[in-house]
């Protein structure tokens, strides 16, 4: 007998807790070459902006031990072309679509949310308030609690469906940011975007990516994000979507136990585009072996005495 892997984020009912992390599988349809994307809990689009963006100059990526740095700079086709060219394909393929948006100004977040609000194919919105690789917007909003709360509130007023805020991990107290998102009406928070990282070519004495610093992702960051997921889970009541270095099913289960309701797959897709298939099978077998009937029994089930934490 199979266990129940469905989860809820606000009014959004997902058939399982696996989602794609924004910017790690193009617009989502490209994944269909490797497995049926309708099997995913949800597809999160690349960050979309009001106008198309070329993105940053190369080199944009470099590998580090058990991880990578990227500085893509939100290269994307813009929200209008996404709606005309990509959304119909995703719908035909049976994907649950969450649109991720990014902007330089609060007004633009609102405009983007208004554009997306009327689309029945879009089941939710993820606000990228945490891109480390563009000068304006992104991280600038995400590391300012008041700005994060204000933008979330403005978007909330025009967007009636499920609203998720993607947080940056590059702050001292991520729980406070999650509370601001919750207070402004977000239905969930994604924990977290990439860490600001850097790598140096020791023979040229130059940075390995052109923007000097970039977003650090991959298995190397999993313990860092695990602590953040646990912190946010203890700070808010809305669902937490974990995103950070998941490669195997054990990683996903670990996040669920630490308090995540859903898990995003990112860097792993660059190597194993159909990773979700094995991860879902692994979670299902684990649930059966552990005698768990529903993921609700697993989520946030960490057995731990919080008093032992040196800093909470």
């Amino acid at each position: 007998m199979n266990s129940d892997l469905t989860v809820e984020i606000g009014s959004l009912h997902l058939k399982n807790p696996l989602m794609t992390a924004s910017g790690t599988c193009g617009y989502g349809d490209e994944l269909e070459d490797y497995f049926p994307i309708s099997r995913l809990g949800a597809i999160v689009s690349k960050s979309l902006t009001l106008k198309p963006k070329k993105g940053n100059e190369p080199p944009r990526i470099t590998e580090v031990s058990c991880g990578m740095l990227n500085s893509i700079g939100l290269a994307n086709i813009g929200v209008q072309r996404f709606i005309s060219d990509k959304l119909p394909v995703l719908k035909r393929l049976g994907a649950e679509v969450i649109v991720n948006i990014a902007a330089k100004r609060a007004d633009d977040y609102v405009s983007l949310a208004e554009i997306v609000a009327g689309l029945p194919e879009v089941k939710g919105l993820e606000l990228n308030l945490s891109c480390p690789n563009v000068k304006e917007g992104g991280l600038e909003f995400g590391s300012d609690i008041a700005a994060l709360g204000r933008i979330t509130d403005l978007v909330r007023r025009v967007y009636p469906e499920v609203l998720i805020v993607k947080l940056t991990p590059n702050v001292a107290r991520i729980g406070e940011f999650a509370k601001a998102a919750e207070g402004a009406g977000a239905n969930g928070v994604t924990v977290a975007n990439t860490y600001v990282g850097m790598a140096v070519d020791i023979y040229r004495r130059t940075p390995k990516i052109r923007s000097i610093t970039g977003g650090f992702s991959g298995p190397a960051i999993k313990p860092l994000t695990m602590a953040k997921v646990f912190e946010v889970h203890n700070a808010v009541k809305i669902p937490v979507i974990a995103s950070g270095g998941v490669f195997g099913w054990q990683d996903a289960v670990e996040y669920l136990i630490a308090g995540a309701t859903a898990v995003e797959l990112g860097t792993v897709l660059f190597r194993i585009p159909d990773a979700s298939t094995g991860i879902l099978d692994g979670i299902q077998s684990y649930m059966v072996r552990e005698g768990l009937e529903s993921l609700r029994e697993l989520i946030g089930s960490l057995k731990a005495n919080l008093d032992r934490m040196p800093h909470k």
């Binding site: 490209e30 893509i72 290269a75 490669f247 660059f270």
Partner: protein, 255 residues
């Protein structure tokens, strides 16, 4: 994507190797100039798959040629017969088709020779004619494959023409011109080929760029669109481009 068994590795001297894999789907489907992404089972460092041009095929087998210089390529050279890797491909756009009787000049720099055996095999099958111009710093940097003859150029004159392979072609152009020019090698060589011959002969360049995925997911391998705005992706739109499609400069968002 397929799990591919290592059949063996042959050293070609220095840090150059050819590894043979049982990979029937890729062997059957691959076109010259296309590439595969290889990842190592159960290994998280190196984490990302590595891009290799498919050097040649034989029946169900794929041959990859590479210089073992980084963590990934060194690990590849140490694989034993029976080891498994995951191979994703064939990926990207390869060299264009050539009609029977037409002449192609293939320009390679150093280990750009990796694309030649499969390309030569397909050109032969097409009954197209071709000549290979191979350049390197010194004789010991020239790559040779059995049964494939080349016109060599070395910077120090230790073998063949004394000068760059681009100079060698410039000289040869005075007597004869091919119907198409294909080039694979370091970016500096490709830039020279583009500026010297791109306006004269239909020229195709196989570019190299750091890649995380090879599938267009990560957008990590931008190649500037010629005279225009924005980028192609080396992995999806290339790695082979017509020389007038691309610029080798920068050109990202100005912020």
């Amino acid at each position: 994507m397929e799990l591919s068994q290592v059949l063996g590795t042959r050293s070609l001297g220095g840090n150059l190797f050819i590894t043979r894999f049982r990979s029937p789907n890729i062997a059957f489907a691959v076109l010259p100039g296309q590439f595969v992404m290889v990842s190592f089972e159960g290994v998280l460092d190196p984490l990302l798959p590595r891009a290799f041009s498919v050097c040649d095929v034989s029946g169900e087998d794929v041959f990859l040629f590479y210089a073992a210089i980084g963590k990934g390529t060194r690990m590849m050279s140490e694989l034993r017969a029976g080891d498994m890797v995951t191979m994703n491909g064939p990926l990207g756009r390869g060299f264009p088709d050539v009609s029977a009787g037409k002449m192609v000049w293939i320009v390679v720099g150093g280990s750009g020779m990796a694309v030649v055996p499969l390309l030569a095999r397909r050109l032969n099958r097409r009954d197209a004619k071709f000549e290979i111009f191979s350049g390197a710093r010194t004789e010991s940097h020239l790559v040779h494959f059995d049964g494939i003859s080349t016109r060599d150029a070395t910077d120090d004159g230790s073998k063949g023409y004394h000068g760059t392979v681009v100079d060698l072609i410039k000289e040869s152009f005075q007597k004869d011109k091919p119907d198409k020019l294909f080039a694979c090698g370091p970016t500096r060589m490709l830039e020279a080929v583009q500026s010297e011959f791109g306006g004269t002969v239909p020229t195709y360049l196989s570019v190299e760029a750091p890649m995380a995925c090879g599938m267009g997911f990560c957008q990590g391998c931008p190649i500037r669109i010629a005279g225009g705005e924005g980028y192609y992706l080396a992995c999806k739109d290339g790695p082979v481009f017509r020389s007038d499609e691309i610029d080798f400069g920068m050109g990202g968002d100005s912020e």
